[in-house]
């Protein structure tokens, strides 16, 4: 396994496409990552981890490895913001941090929000302490590629004992109106002891050319800190996206995540939560509402390394048209992680005969005093319930939307920010009432 032949010519093409860029920051780690990428190549259909999601094949077929970043003609980010959600906004256009479009409202004495490239100069010590530590480059092609060639990124640092109320919204806009776009971005966020942070990431793209967005995210949540992390993937048709996100939790920290995937051609989320302290709590929920030919793949890992923690995972999906959903949930409970409570559930509704879902729980438990459960279901809309609503005068379209909304709604539980919750609720409800 994993011993697949690397297409050397393709690799050369990919590597040379990044040449001529300014790669300041993390020179040593870039070289190591490049070496790993040379060895790994793009995943093929023989790569177990990408079995249902042929991203390598898709990229080889549809992506020209010539230019990396192109100029954007986008003048305003207004249409991409979240109505009613008050936040500091950090904008990356075609993978490049835009100081011009970003608008940071937070108090600098509490939180630092800046370009990651700049942080390598101004916050050298802390960046060196965390950068690349939770995302090793030797096993995943995309982590290796990103770590070798990342162009730009965001750095967030919350000081100790600081409750940051307003969220930080990271807006990724890829403008493929004139040419294809290749964005390789990163996030490095540290929430220090007894502090809290809410991060929202939103992905938007415009234009008919292909977008390849490969991003890596490392978030450290220190002792007794709290993180709320929400991701909204709302890309246009020809977008291929790979996200590798690692959240590292220290003792008594609490993490709530919510991942919403709406559109795009192929989306792969690798979300890993490392519970590296006692008495932690993590809730990670996700929802994918897919239609057309969209493929969305959520690979999640929760790694219980220490005792007495609680993790709760709930992912739900609704697939229509030829859409494909993929869910893979790994739960690791290490030998010392006694008294762990870990729950996982994946539920799916298929609205058409040609929509599919592949779901697989993977539990590896080495401790003997734990409570773990998992379950996955896939089925159609409940015809009896639909008839019940219709028999009360509710037309079929509305009845269907009501049932799907009711099915999907509880995934929003980890979202604590009221205005964000309202925004997401409306986004989901509108999507369902538009008849998908």
């Amino acid at each position: 396994m994993g011993n697949t032949a690397v297409d050397i010519d393709l690799n050369k093409e990919i590597v040379s496409s990044f040449s001529g860029q300014d790669f300041s920051g993390a020179i040593d780690s870039r070289e190591l990552a490049l070496m790993h990428f040379q060895k790994l190549g793009l995943p093929t259909n023989k790569s177990e981890e990408y079995r249902f999601t042929p991203i390598g094949k898709n990229l080889s077929k549809n992506f020209t490895w010539k230019t990396v970043s192109t100029e954007s003609t986008i003048g305003s980010i207004e249409p991409f913001l979240m109505e009613g959600v008050e936040a500091s906004v950090v904008v990356l256009v075609n993978g490049i941090y835009s100081s011009k479009l970003s608008h940071i409202k937070h108090d600098k004495n509490e939180i630092t929000v800046m370009s990651l490239t700049d942080a390598f100069k101004t916050h050298e010590a802390i960046v060196a302490q965390y950068f690349g530590k939770n995302l090793p480059t030797e096993s995943d092609s995309f982590v290796a590629m990103n770590s070798a060639f990342w162009q730009s990124g965001v750095f967030i640092h919350v000081k100790e004992n600081t409750n940051v109320e307003k969220p930080v919204l990271i807006l990724h806009v890829n403008d493929a109106q004139n040419a294809q776009v290749n964005s390789q971005t990163r996030l490095l966020a540290i929430v220090e002891k007894n502090s809290s942070l809410s991060v929202i990431e939103k992905f938007e793209s415009v234009g008919d050319n292909y977008v390849f967005h490969n991003f890596c995210e490392e978030i450290a949540v220190k002792e007794n800190a709290r993180l709320e992390y929400c991701k909204v993937q709302n890309d246009a048709g020809k977008s291929i996206q790979v996200a590798n996100t690692v959240i590292h939790q220290s003792a008594t920290s609490k993490v709530d995540t919510f991942t919403l995937t709406l559109d795009g051609e192929m989306v792969r989320n690798n979300l890993t939560i490392v519970i590296d302290g006692e008495n932690c709590e993590s809730h990670f929920h996700g929802l994918y509402l897919l239609k057309g030919n969209t493929l969305a793949d959520n690979h999640t890992v929760v790694d219980h390394k220490k005792p007495n923690s609680f993790s709760n995972e709930l992912y739900k999906g609704i697939m229509d048209g030829n859409a494909k959903g993929v869910f893979n949930g790994k739960i690791f409970v290490r030998p010392h992680a006694q008294k762990t409570n870990a729950f996982q559930s994946n539920r799916n509704i298929l609205l058409s005969d040609s929509a599919t879902v592949n779901t697989k729980p993977q539990l590896e438990i080495w401790a003997d005093d734990v409570k773990c459960s998992h379950g996955c279901t896939s089925g159609q809309l409940d015809e009896e319930a639909l008839f019940y609503l219709r028999s009360r005068g509710i037309p079929a379209d509305t009845a269907k939307a009501m049932l799907l909304y009711a099915f999907a709604l509880d995934v929003l539980a980890p979202v604590k920010n009221e205005s964000l919750k309202t925004y997401l609720d409306k986004l989901i409800s509108d999507r369902l009432h538009k008849n998908f």
Binding site: E384, S391, R392, G393, I394, T398, M402, L403, A406
Partner: protein
């Protein structure tokens, strides 16, 4: 109001209704009785528009319209209401929101303006009192975790809210203890008037002590084999359905 002529229906290729004729006028209560498997619930389902059933012959006219051409939601808009034998549990949809959508969709169907929040709440309070149902129950997910009695009471509450012209109660007495039965029947009786009609589908005579019918029809093998007044129900209770079966056998021989 309702005219059923020679109605035939099947499910999954199996013929259930073999030619039903029935006329229901405004102000009347009709009871449909019969042994298990006689087609009582099928008749109720076909009238409400349940799609698993295929109508293979006959006609149903409701207030001058061909009922069989209408979607289930259009039938509700026209004034038909089916109280389910097994009300469906729908997690995540509260009865209040469900009723608000239903009331306003039916109003829209009839070309009426939507009720605003205040008017809706007022209507709800009034109807809650009528069927003795608690507000807390209505704020919960529709029927989820409700007892048998609560589910049936919720059906009658919905009926009160939608003010149908024709109500069809499908085995509303099943799973009810005597107190719940009385409350549900009281609700139905309070909703009766000279402009609406009720069809009560039941296996037992018990419910008919509380909802007194004007006509009783006995359904057997997909046909109405005997019709009469309310005393027919009493006779059935005393003699059992075998009495009907043997009568039919005799008539075939003679």
């Amino acid at each position: 109001m309702l005219q059923i002529k020679n109605l035939q229906a099947s499910i999954e290729g199996k013929q259930i209704l073999n030619g039903i004729d029935l006329q229901v006028n405004a102000g009347e209560v009709h009871a449909i009785m019969g042994p298990n498997g006689s087609g009582k619930s099928t008749l109720a389902s076909v009238l409400a528009g349940r799609e698993e059933y295929e109508v293979t012959g006959g006609e149903v006219e409701f207030l001058g319209k061909n009922l069989l051409e209408l979607e289930p939601d259009q039938r509700a808009g026209e004034g038909i209401f089916l109280a389910f034998q097994y009300p469906v549990e729908i997690p995540g949809v509260s009865t209040v929101n469900f009723m608000k959508t239903a009331v306003n969709k039916i109003r829209a169907y009839r070309g009426q303006n939507a009720l605003d929040a205040v008017a809706f709440l007022q209507l709800m309070k009034e109807k809650m009192k009528l069927v003795e149902i608690d507000q807390a129950l209505l704020s919960r997910s529709l029927n989820e975790g409700f007892s048998g009695g609560e589910k049936k009471r919720n059906e009658i509450f919905q009926m009160a809210m939608l003010e149908p012209t024709l109500s069809i109660l499908d085995e509303t007495d099943s799973g009810l203890d005597i107190d719940a039965l009385r409350i549900v029947a009281n609700g139905v009786n309070k909703l009766r008037n000279k402009n609406n009609a009720t069809i009560v589908v039941t296996h037992y005579q018990r419910l008919l002590d509380y909802i007194v019918p004007d006509f009783v029809h006995v359904l057997y093998k997909g046909r109405i084999v005997k019709s009469g007044g309310k005393e027919l129900a009493k006779e059935l209770e005393a003699k059992g359905y075998d009495w009907i079966k043997s009568q039919l056998a005799d008539s075939v021989i003679s």
